[in-house]
């Protein structure tokens, strides 16, 4: 079964230096089990290929049914130095929600 991430989760993103923080929050417990299983470091790194040039760090917040990702080396040098239109990574949570998950069921 193919699941669109945007149907089961929302999110928010921002900047931490040259890293972007991307928080993804599932709407319910079932959704959290899905994102916890399928939103691995490798999948997120591959999703942001050509955007994130550093290590992806992943943290779990089961209490909020959420995952937090730090995408290192992503914002073109960070807040004030960056020439990017989205220098603070504000739209990157939405970019991650483009992902489709194949649960194979």
């Amino acid at each position: 079964m193919k699941i669109k991430l945007i149907d089961i989760a929302h999110g928010r993103s921002g900047d931490k230096g040259d890293a972007a923080n991307v928080g993804i929050l599932a709407y319910d417990d079932n959704g959290y089990q899905i994102i916890k299983k399928y939103l691995t470091v490798d999948r997120v790194k591959k999703h942001f290929e050509g955007i994130c040039f550093g290590e992806v760090e992943r943290f779990e917040l089961p209490n909020l049914r959420a995952l937090n990702f730090l995408l290192n080396n992503t914002l073109g040098g960070g807040g004030t130095i960056s020439l990017k239109h989205d220098a603070q990574g504000k739209t990157l949570a939405a970019a991650l929600l483009r992902m489709e998950i194949d649960t194979g069921e």
Binding site: G11, G23, N63, G79
Partner: protein
């Protein structure tokens, strides 16, 4: 001890809705109004203003705001806490005192937190053993020392608590953490001990929820935002805090926006790193301990928060000069809008090359096509896109290269691909780029100072 206190967020950054703090004071009962004005970029702007005029260097919206809210705040005993003092909190306090005199308000005490500005004592700090290496890169501060524009230590809640204990009606600080502004009244009112890290963490996390203004009460909500009512009159968040560390996040009745599990949880995920180690000068809060309960009617209860002892360091943020940058844009219409924009990019690159200018970085983006999501943007029929805006940006160490680039945008209209418009407002001007140098400093080297000024 009060049974509960209501702390209202009035500003998420300098430039936020001007009327938000006014409405927080006027549209319902609150005990404290807290306002975060300082982004990192703000400190260097304020430093430049102070360099030109020693009476400036604070958020200049504050005196005019005080004119509108002080009489009500004084009458209802609403205390005001803000870090909008920037690099000149004394001048900010003096300006407030002037307004109070004009309004005939007497017995007003303004507390000022000083000591965060270490720009002039950096050498001394270094000689006393502060390394001030870049926290992210490990580089030595020597590489940027002669380019430093400002250097400020992030203080926490306790200097504000001291000012409140001395009877301050208003507390003006320089570089204080956003979270400390909200935590301080809880410590003061409920007598929380310095080593009760769970309670300090609860107040800190409440501060994180309030620090971006309406971003926790429906603004910028990526869930079902279309169902949120009355964005135009959005209510800013209010933390109803209790002595046991539980906090109800809410907003004034009748205002727009929404406070729900989802809107609060989304803000909790904003700009955090490791959720188990949210480091502030006051404590290390654990975001994985938070329990949220949506009570309905725009009320969300937060409880069960735990945390750990604070570290032995303050964070320092230095700003330093990092050259110049400019951006220019042009809009290309159908047919083949994207092809034209890409051709224009190549022409511009070639012309800049021929001019033998030296840029550290050159970047072209195609707004309307893939500027935000880049490689993840949906593939469109490139020949059929209605319009594309080419945004072309450069950054260089020298002013002249960037200034020269600014003269190359408009000529593309008559010397490049057709059906182009949208050049207005003159040549893009170079703006100074200010970079940040995050570092740590042992707490024992810096002492906050609290001063009370009376009207």
């Amino acid at each position: 001890m009060k049974e509960k206190i209501k702390i209202a967020s009035g500003q998420g950054f300098w430039g936020d809705l001007i009327d938000a703090p006014y409405h927080q004071v006027m549209k319902g009962e609150i005990d404290y109004l807290v306002m975060d004005y300082l982004a990192e970029v703000t400190m260097s702007i304020l430093q430049k203003q102070k360099n030109k005029n020693p009476k400036l260097g604070y958020a200049r919206d504050i005196p005019e705001l005080m004119r509108r809210i002080l009489p009500t705040c004084k009458e209802k005993n609403i205390k005001i806490i803000t870090n909008g003092g920037g690099v000149n909190p004394i001048a900010c306090a003096d300006a407030i005192i002037e307004i109070a005199k004009e309004l005939g308000i007497k017995n007003l005490k303004v507390g000022v937190v000083l000591g965060d500005d270490i720009k002039d004592s950096l050498d001394e700090m270094i000689s006393q053993g502060a390394e001030l290496n870049n926290m992210e890169t490990g580089d030595s501060i020597k590489t940027i020392k002669d380019k430093i524009l400002s250097a400020n230590v992030y203080f926490g809640a306790f200097p504000i608590v001291e000012a409140l204990k001395k009877g301050a009606d208003i507390v003006i600080t320089g570089r204080t953490t956003d979270t400390g502004l909200t935590l301080a009244p809880m410590i003061y009112e409920f007598g929380w001990e310095k080593n009760n890290y769970n309670l300090l963490s609860a107040g800190t996390i409440a501060g994180h929820i309030l620090e971006c203004g309406a971003q926790s009460s429906g603004g910028n909500f990526l869930g079902d935002w279309e169902s949120i009512e009355n964005f135009a009159e959005i209510g800013f968040p209010i933390a109803e805090a209790y002595p046991d560390g539980s906090v109800i996040i809410t907003k004034h009745q009748g205002t727009g926006g929404r406070v729900s599990f989802e809107t609060v949880a989304e803000q909790l995920l904003y700009e955090i790193g490791d959720p188990k180690n949210y480091i502030t000068p006051d404590c290390v809060a654990d975001f994985t301990s938070i329990k949220l309960e949506d009570m309905g009617n725009n009320r969300v209860k937060m409880f069960n928060v735990s945390g750990a002892k604070e570290t032995e360091f303050y964070k320092v943020s230095c700003s330093y000069s990092y050259g110049y940058a400019a951006s220019g844009s042009l809009t290309y219409s159908w047919p083949k809008a994207l092809t034209k924009a890409k051709a224009a990019e190549q022409i511009l690159r070639k012309r800049l090359e021929n001019l033998d200018l030296h840029f550290e970085e050159v970047r072209a983006e195609f707004i309307g096509y893939n500027a935000t999501h880049e490689t993840l943007a949906k593939k469109l029929n490139e020949d059929d896109i209605n319009e594309v805006m080419l945004r072309f940006s450069v950054r260089a160490a020298d002013f002249k290269s960037v200034e020269r680039f600014g003269k190359e945008i408009a000529p593309l209209i008559l010397t490049g691909p057709p059906a182009v418009t949208g050049f207005a407002g003159g040549r893009p001007k170079p703006s100074e780029v200010v970079a940040y140098w995050p570092a740590l400093i042992p707490k024992k080297l810096v002492t906050p100072l609290v001063k009370i000024i009376e009207a």
